[in-house]
């Protein structure tokens, strides 16, 4: 099974080796909690987390 990794900078969860949002390669497999952002413009949660692009984000990255 492919391991999902979270970007340490923007917390985006990806299966690739580079974060597609911030292009960082600083990814970690240690993360928990997920926020699936569908509509970042109208989402209160996205605003609180400072997320502007839709996708799957980790809540806590270690």
């Amino acid at each position: 099974m492919v391991r999902e990794m979270a970007c340490r900078k923007c917390k985006y969860v990806t299966i690739g080796k580079v974060c597609p949002v911030c292009k960082s390669s600083d990814l970690t497999p240690d993360w928990n909690g997920v926020a699936l952002i569908v509509d970042p413009e109208n989402s209160h949660i996205a605003k609180t987390l400072g997320i502007t692009q839709k996708g799957k984000y980790a809540l806590k990255v270690t």
Binding site: V34, A35, L36, V38, N42, I45, A46, L59
Partner: protein
């Protein structure tokens, strides 16, 4: 004539009550949070199913939240309860939707986590709550705010043993 005027007045009276829901929905751009009950341990599966549904169908929801401390539930952010219901209808491992909605302050604590680094200072006694030294007490000797880690000296060890640990694994001891 009087009947006519009466009817007009009646119609005028009725209008606001009909309009009221539309005005409500107009201001309802603010989203609401709903707790969705799932089969125990299947929260991630539900989240992936919802993600697939979002990609394939047009579902009017804002976000889905999966919190580790909230076992058996996922939090759905939608404009109203109907949209939330439409989004989860027919999804496997979903056992229902809790009546009413969650307050934002209920989940805020899970979203905005105050970093423990800001609370740490040199010479403070802390307890290590994770990692190989879990449960041990230590004194802080150095704090690295950028890397969010701290060097501590274990109090339980027979000799001075400086260890650098992640600040999230430290808790201020009372």
């Amino acid at each position: 004539m009087t009947e006519e005027t009466h009817e007009i007045v009646k119609a005028d009276e009725e209008q606001p009550s009909v309009k009221q829901p539309t005005t409500n929905s107009g201001t309802d751009t603010k989203s609401h949070l709903f707790a969705i009950r799932t089969t125990g341990g299947q929260e991630k599966v539900v989240l992936n199913l919802l993600q697939n549904r979002v990609n394939t169908k047009k579902i009017n929801i804002q976000s889905v939240l999966l919190i580790d401390n909230l076992k058996g539930y996922v939090v759905l952010e939608a404009i109203d309860a109907n949209e939330a219901f439409n989004a989860i209808q027919g999804v496997r491992h979903i056992r229902g939707q809790l009546r009413g909605e969650l307050e934002f302050k209920d989940i805020e604590g899970y979203l905005v986590k105050k970093s423990t680094v800001s609370e740490l200072a040199v010479d403070k006694v802390v307890e290590i709550i994770g990692g190989p030294f879990k449960g041990m007490k230590a004194t802080v000797t150095r704090v690295d705010h950028d890397k969010e880690e701290a060097t501590v000296i274990l109090l339980d060890a027979p000799y001075q043993l400086p260890v650098t640990v992640d600040a999230n694994y430290l808790k201020l001891s009372a």
